[in-house]
């Protein structure tokens, strides 16, 4: 469920580890944000959240990200660069756990370091803003299982081997199925693209004809691919769950397509809260170690509401 988690943290005045901007006024505070990539809708919402927070709080926020989520070295470079260019806090959505930890090592202890969306447990990080991908996926999986009922069969289309997020979502889906008594027939990669997912789903439908009830997808692009495959195979009864809460996917849900739900991690909120938390940390206020951003399973019921809020956030 989309419970709104503690956004306003208490203003307890125990100065945390830092010395970056002792009594800096908000206006010359610079916060760097390095996301997994900027070339996708989801991270676009995170960026929008960060930018909105920057405007509201009167700080400068620099949001960057490599061209694709697989570009680990690029992200390391970006982190180094942002630290090198002298920011007062840095917020990172790591593409690779070890790589990000390494790159952030020099910043730990001198400026607040926050991670957003993906918690890889960077040692000494000030705070994590987001939800566990495992938990979020699990929620989506449980919702689907509930719709399908016990004894249903599911397939998982994950993203890419070696990708942290993909692994975690896969784990969450699997856990949900185990818990709800749903059989997972197969888990295959959709290569993170609609094209790849379409092919994979076509093959899955062929391998398990008339057996699949639920398709749990790595993200919304993958879900759209799965939907295509079902449609062209003449299947019209399927519960497809996407992930990310992209507007295009919500449109499909509202239109009554086979994409029935998408797990929205509220990326905008995440971005906003991360910047807020960073500013607090700069000012020396205490920030919670884990700031839970809400997760919503967007379905036909709450879809319109969700869309409206998206539109409002983007202004």
């Amino acid at each position: 469920g989309g419970d709104t988690a503690n956004e306003d943290t208490s203003t307890d005045d125990t100065a945390t580890e830092e010395n970056g901007g002792d009594t800096a006024t908000a206006s010359d505070v610079e916060i760097a944000v390095v996301l997994k990539t900027l070339a996708s809708e989801y991270w676009g919402y995170v960026k929008a959240g960060c930018d909105a927070a920057a405007a509201d709080l009167g700080v400068t926020v620099n949001v960057v990200g490599p061209g694709a989520e697989s570009e680990i070295e690029q992200q390391v470079s970006m982190i180094e660069q942002q630290i090198g260019a002298g920011c007062d806090a840095i917020i990172v959505a790591p593409n690779d756990a070890g790589a990000a930890s390494g790159a952030l090592a020099s910043a730990i202890g001198s400026i607040p370091v926050l991670s957003v969306d993906t918690n890889v447990g960077i040692e000494g990080q000030t705070s994590f803003v987001g939800t566990s991908n495992v938990d979020a996926a699990k929620e989506g999986g449980l919702w689907a299982a509930e719709q399908a009922g016990e004894g249903a069969n599911a397939v998982i289309i994950y993203g890419q081997e070696g990708d942290n997020t993909s692994n975690m979502r896969r784990e969450g889906y699997q856990a949900a199925c185990d818990e709800a008594g749903v059989t997972v027939l197969d888990a295959l990669s959709g290569q993170n693209t609609t094209d790849g997912a379409t092919k994979t789903m076509e093959d899955l439908l062929n391998a398990y004809p008339d057996q699949i009830d639920i398709v749990l997808c790595h993200n919304d692009d993958t879900a759209i691919g799965a939907m295509n495959a079902c449609k062209s195979a003449g299947v019209d009864d399927m519960i497809i769950v996407g992930f990310d809460g992209n507007a295009s996917a919500v449109d499909l849900i509202l239109a009554g397509e086979m994409v029935k739900a998408t797990v929205a991690q509220q990326p905008y909120e995440m971005g906003y809260q991360a910047v807020e938390a960073a500013l607090k940390a700069i000012k020396g206020e205490t920030v919670e170690e884990v700031i839970n951003a809400p997760v919503t399973v967007v379905t036909a019921e709450n879809g319109q509401e969700y869309l409206d809020s998206l539109a409002a956030m983007q202004g």
Binding site: S189, D195, N206, A233, S248, D251
Partner: protein, 336 residues
Amino acid sequence: MKKKNSGKELLQKLGTLMALALLVLIFCVMMPDKFPRISNIMNIFKQASINCLIASGMLCALITAGIDLSVGSNCVLCTCTIGVLVQNFGITSMPLLIIAGLAVSTFAGFVNGILLTRLDLPHPFVSTLGMKNVLWGLALVITGSKSIAFTNTGVDNLMWIGGGSLFKTETFPGIPFSFILVLIVFGIFHVFLTRSALGRQIYCVGGNPEAARLSGIPSKNVLTFVYSLSGFMAGMAGVVSVGRLASANGNAGSTYDTDAIAACIIGGASFTGGKGTIWGTLIGALLMAVIRNGLNLMGASNDIQYIVIGAVIILAVTIDVFRNKAEARARKMAAQ
């Protein structure tokens, strides 16, 4: 180039065809209940069609001893253009959308050609690599890095091109229209490459551009045409994507370039130019689709898939090399 050659061409095709048949056989034996199903066969056709269309343009570039690394981005740009027109401008007229998409892609291809010929670049690798980035960036810019869904936007007839099937019955899943389109296009390409003057000129320019120029063949124009054609075909693949993917996403298409190249090379084209047939390319593309499909059906994970695909690519050229050698040896022994 007929008579003996068509015998040779057949052999050429047969070589890869044999590899394809072998692969199909293996998968049939391994998964007798899954692989040889009629619905799966149709799936393979469907899955091959985007690669086929892109590969046909790539083939022409390869025949001229060039390469077009921008086709993947170009295909995506076409889909995104159509997506933006539908979403932001509310255009739903099928001909208009198709023309717009094809025009953008053909123009991008034309730019590739112009860069290559007017700048006298030694090789199109870099210019098309540059264009790949540029087009990719453009696709992201116009879509605002968001994915656009086509479902329920009133373009169902356009989507039918990539998603529809013909002769569908209760028991028969129908022949995917996208593959019928491929067959039509390939038929035209066959006639074009083997029977038309311009087609032969493409081979000549590939073999020796200077000799072609001094023989009155406008090499530069031929090259510009080839890259425009490659762009056009990428655009056609983009149009098919609309229905196939039901969405436009700037980040799709990252493997399209290498897949197309692999299909052409497996099918007998060569980086040194002057070689390659469209049927070979078809077989190459089907081979790639069959491997992916079969491995998916077996539930092979990504890592294994990479290894197998890499190995098959290497194997396919190896077969080709050995067949050519055997052929040369046979002719040598026959000489009296």
